[in-house]
Homo-oligomer: 414 residues x 2
Amino acid sequence: MADCEWRELAKLAVARGIHLQPGQRVCIQSPVEYSSFVHLLAEEAYQQGAQEVCVRWEEQTLSRMRSRWAPEDRLATGSPWSAGELTEIAREGGCLITVRAPYQYPEGDIPPARAALAQKTERMITQEALTLRMSGHCTWTIVLLPTVGWARKVYPQCTDEQAMERLTQTLFQCSRVEPGHTLENWREHRAHLEQYANYLTGRSFRALRYWNQQGTDLTVGLADGHRWCGGGVYKADGLPFIPNIPTEELGTAPRRDSANGTVVTTMPFLFEETLIEGMRLVFRDGVVVEYHADRGEDALRRLLETDAGGQSRRLGEVALVPISSPIAQTHTLFYNTLLDENASCHLALGNGYPFCLQGGEALSPEDMDRAGLNTGSLLHVDFMIGSPDLSVDGQNADGSWSPVFRNGTWAFSL
Amino acid sequence: MADCEWRELAKLAVARGIHLQPGQRVCIQSPVEYSSFVHLLAEEAYQQGAQEVCVRWEEQTLSRMRSRWAPEDRLATGSPWSAGELTEIAREGGCLITVRAPYQYPEGDIPPARAALAQKTERMITQEALTLRMSGHCTWTIVLLPTVGWARKVYPQCTDEQAMERLTQTLFQCSRVEPGHTLENWREHRAHLEQYANYLTGRSFRALRYWNQQGTDLTVGLADGHRWCGGGVYKADGLPFIPNIPTEELGTAPRRDSANGTVVTTMPFLFEETLIEGMRLVFRDGVVVEYHADRGEDALRRLLETDAGGQSRRLGEVALVPISSPIAQTHTLFYNTLLDENASCHLALGNGYPFCLQGGEALSPEDMDRAGLNTGSLLHVDFMIGSPDLSVDGQNADGSWSPVFRNGTWAFSL
């Protein structure tokens, strides 16, 4: 039974996630411990016509030894070879699958500055592939696998075995995995989300205003010619694909110079293995000018200081998720952004997505700049601000405001 | 207990095998399934001053999917990135460790021609690193790990568990692993073998003649200025290291144009996952002009036809191992050349080793050519010809012959 569902998840990732076309190459990034799921992905990919499946294996124990013991200049250099194939496949417009196993390892004892350096180097090494992903040059998807560490964090009252079983079933359910029906489930789900995306795009709001009792009161302009995406996004050639499974969000690109006001997070989120909780950011003309976190403030500072050009202090995404989302309805804090962001309205610091601009795949860097997109960051970090009392208004072309969200959900029906 | 011996084996591989110098980088090639032994190697390497430890993971299931399903032109291209780090570390004179787990997988169902193509491509991709290894530009060692498949092949009468235990203990014993004493054991062993190597080098034989009742009657010239190696070899800068653990052999380089006569193997050996048994080769002026195998003749043909330039039809190594070798004394056929070759006199087809020439590390390709060394092959494949009745004579400068081996062991004492 479970085997059958894992295979179904692999099929979903290949057929809808990366939307593999015959003759394409696929690069999978995965921890070595999850090779059996990687085999399922590779089998599905070859069966669906992949030319070749390459794997960039990640091995945490060795990475940690390196972070602990390698000299600093070596840590700062990294190994460009390790991302060679990933970059090559991204360049040729192939497909990338990332397998993530959150909380697989207990927290390490690496000095935070060295851990941060290692992660920054990894981002530099993979930046070209990231840019190509973000611009829709290739298709990509992220698959989350349950781990005991994660399951126990989510369900601390359960035994290891119970917690794993519960998290596994929840992941299947949130991912709409149902043997024999999964692809059809996703066709319907996507059509539903696209209806909202098309409606919001048609409204062409100039800005959004968010407010609730938690302390959020923020106005943020939307990029010129923005497009809302829901149930997946589009490759440069128009091919639809689904970067995150599950997905419940409707998202678009803000103007990088337009956020003003305060946001307060309603869920913790991870940055570089550190949980940031109770974050409060004050924006002026798009830039974070004040910041605070009840927990993880050091990590927050590193996040904001990542980009020399200041891009990590600006917004790259605004996304709306009603509290009726099935993930929100589990009333569970997953301590993982890919799930939690699909249970809550959220924003992101760092890069904006070109595919959130109309015809964005074909736009030049200058065009994107003119549209107001935040680009050139090493990061894209989501944080959740949704709440059952959240209100959102959209500003019309004439300057008037229309309700978009009331009481944490859509203020209109389609 | 076993843990302790595994750690001791890892320490031996790092301290004597690659003879790590502080500040060097290490590249480990290993099947992903053996990550826990790789962790031991990496820990030892960092503790002994390595700058960085990189791993080139091998994953058999994916490699086989690729061999089965990827289009032929892709199989022939391979992935140059995968060997980038290996080649880089070889170029900078670093250290390479190969972890091998023989018979880990049951025989696959890959069409032989496609399997051979994949292996040839792998050899092309790693050829620069191989050439750098062979020339002593970097240090390298191979560590064998026991697998159930291998253990059951060696001890078919045992249960899986018994066979694994027996093979594991035999490997530790043949590798002279003895917690707290391993490095000292190897100092003594090396000194013993070096005594023979120095003696044989001093004799400067022009040729060797082998004969026994199995049908071997072969004369082979030795390369001009050859040097015998035993208990390890030398890096270009003179640093001693041990490519194979265990090692019992005394080896040197033949002239590539000089073998005449017939050799008959006394043990089976593997080429590209095929066992070749009962092989008979006839040489004329260095080249194999007739060949036969009771089993695996197709694989033998592919072996001989590997190099367009014909190098794989010529000899690259002659090695002497007395029947008193501890590995021979186990009276066990290991179905693995790295062990079996240390129980028996053997020869190799393909590349000769520059470090088997005096000052060989500094010689130009033209010098090696002039000395008669076989170079430019994609292969180096050993095959065993030792027997309890083997005789070997060495030809002196004046053309006379002196006994070297009688009844499978040294004809002289030191």
